[in-house]
């Protein structure tokens, strides 16, 4: 479960990026976060794995209050949350397989098990045959799928994706969304930032609308 209680976030020298945001998400839910550029979508998502810390208010993830968490506990929190970053953050000097292996290197898997998981994740996103390619040799959609494979390789219970379909054509976007849906179906909690209203209508789920740092929840049918 994820809950925000009156969370505000102000970056140094800026106005508030998030302003008294309160919501709560149950395990296994699929949430869309929408809003204009600069509305605070990325900021909200970054608060969950404690990449950013709230200025005030409390963020609770799976029973743990992130705001009060010691820095030394953060790595373990982050391993339990899969994140697809807006800028993907792939390592361009490593091949596809090595990119997916990265998060496995620092969790406690035996090498064989790690390799098996990496291949399973690549298989899931349809990139198994591109193992030895470098990210630069992949299409935009494929890079996005690689980022997803890396996010899910540690089998997180929460999956966060920041505009994963933003620069993709319809077909690629659909493939990417199918992947998220399949994780949703096995009970993974999913939070997706997106501009695409049509997509939200198609896939249902709750929609959080951000405007100027303020969050309002639109019922799913109202999005239609």
């Amino acid at each position: 479960m994820i809950s925000f209680d009156s969370v505000s976030k102000r970056y140094p020298g800026n106005r508030e990026a998030l302003s008294r945001v309160t919501f709560s998400v149950d395990n296994g839910e699929m949430i869309f976060i929408t809003g204009h550029s600069g509305a605070g979508k990325s900021t909200l998502l970054k608060l969950i794995p404690a990449i950013e810390r709230p200025t005030s208010g409390s963020v609770v993830v799976q029973g743990q209050n992130i705001s009060a968490m010691k820095a030394s506990a953060l790595p373990y929190l982050r391993r339990s949350i899969g994140v697809v970053f807006q800028d993907q953050k792939l390592l361009h000097d490593r091949n596809v397989y090595e990119n997916v292996m990265l998060p496995l290197a620092f969790s406690d898997h035996a090498p064989k098990e790690a390799a098996r998981r990496a291949r399973a994740a690549l298989d899931k996103v349809g990139l198994l045959d591109r193992e030895l390619s470098h990210p630069i040799q992949l299409s935009g959609g494929e890079q996005q799928r690689l980022a997803i494979a890396r996010a899910v390789v540690n089998r997180p219970s929460i999956l966060i994706a920041d505009e994963p379909t933003a620069n993709l054509d319809d077909d690629s976007a659909r493939i990417v969304m199918e992947i998220f849906l399949s994780f949703h179906q096995v009970g993974v909690t999913i939070l997706l930032a997106s501009h695409d209203q049509a997509m939200m209508r198609r896939y249902g789920g709750r929609v959080f609308a951000l405007a100027g740092g303020k969050l309002t929840e639109r019922p799913a049918e109202a999005a239609a």
């Binding site: 990449i51 030394s72 790595p75 982050r78 391993r79 970053f85 953050k89 990265l102």
Partner: protein, 302 residues
């Protein structure tokens, strides 16, 4: 436990890979470290024989009073009484000419020479310890003793040894200063290599932090890198010095042999060789620690 070992092995491999990946840059810094360490090490090798020599020479100020070749045992006894009667003299020990010859024969390379002598060319002598050991009073005493009957020559033989000892002491201090400076140099070189590594791998570090790598996991390869670089530098220094000593000994041998001596520059004992590598590794660790603490903090994911 197994995963702990695995993490360390992975960190070590990653460090070795980082070192290998830098190729020429890594080679250059390792070589610079090696050459730097080899300087004080070479000084140590050169000073070491001097220390052995000084250890054998009595460093207390003393005078040797040589008697005339013609002096008889009675003359020697008479001189002995005079010396022991002098308030300025603490002790006077007779070294009879026979004993002196025997001692000479025991010196390396001298046995052959002594054995062909028809007569004993050495005089009786007294080794005199003065109560006042200040150089001026020693010299005054020496010139007075010189005037005693039956005395051929008085030799203040500890003076050169004392000078040598102080030169050696200066040498040791210089070596310590040099080693300390180069130790700081090694730390600085490691600090910089690792700073460059961290800059190059900024993305990887940032992404690793974002994905849940612990600080320890991220730091570990750099510690290994520092230790590895220092230790390899230490090993290179040893190779340089051992090779240098070997080459110099070829010439030293020719010179020493011509004096009938088997003197050679000593090779550092194994324990010292190992500690050179260990110390260099420790300094590398320290440089890595400073660099990592300073530079990894700057990389905060956002």
């Amino acid at each position: 436990m197994r995963s702990w070992l695995r993490h360390h092995r992975m960190a070590f491999n990653s460090a070795a890979r980082k070192l290998a990946a830098q190729k020429s840059a890594a080679f250059a810094s390792v070589l610079a470290i090696g050459i730097a360490i080899s300087l004080p090490l070479a000084g140590y090798i050169l000073l070491e024989p001097l220390r052995g020599l000084l250890g054998r020479v009595a460093l207390e100020p003393q005078l040797t009073v040589f008697m005339k070749q013609s002096a008889k045992r009675d003359d020697a006894d008479a001189l002995g009484r005079t010396l022991r009667g002098d308030v300025r003299i603490g002790s006077a020990r007779l070294i009879a000419k026979e004993a002196a010859l025997k001692e000479l024969a025991s010196v390396e390379g001298m046995a052959d020479v002594v054995s062909v002598l028809a007569i004993n060319p050495l005089p009786d002598a007294y080794v005199v310890r003065a109560r006042d050991t200040a150089p001026e009073s020693m010299e005054r005493l020496a010139s007075e003793l010189q005037a005693l009957p039956g005395v051929e020559r008085v030799h203040a033989d500890s003076l050169w040894a004392r000078r040598l000892a102080s030169i050696a002491a200066i040498g040791r201090v210089a070596l310590m200063i040099l080693s300390t400076l180069l130790g700081f140099g090694l730390i600085a070189v490691t600090f910089n290599t690792i700073r460059l590594q961290i800059l190059t791998l900024r993305d990887e570090i940032e992404v690793s932090k974002l994905l849940g790598a612990t600080d320890g996991y991220i730091r570990r390869p750099y510690y290994y890198l520092g230790v590895l670089q220092g230790a390899i530098g230490g090993a290179i220094a040893l190779i340089i010095v051992l090779t240098g000593t070997y080459i110099m000994n070829l010439e030293v041998g020719v010179l020493a042999d011509s004096y009938g001596s088997s003197f050679r520059l000593p090779f550092p004992p194994l324990a010292d060789a190992v500690s050179v590598i260990v110390y260099a590794g420790l300094l590398g660790w320290l440089g890595a620690h400073l660099s990592v603490s300073r530079h990894l903090r700057d990389i905060e994911p956002s």
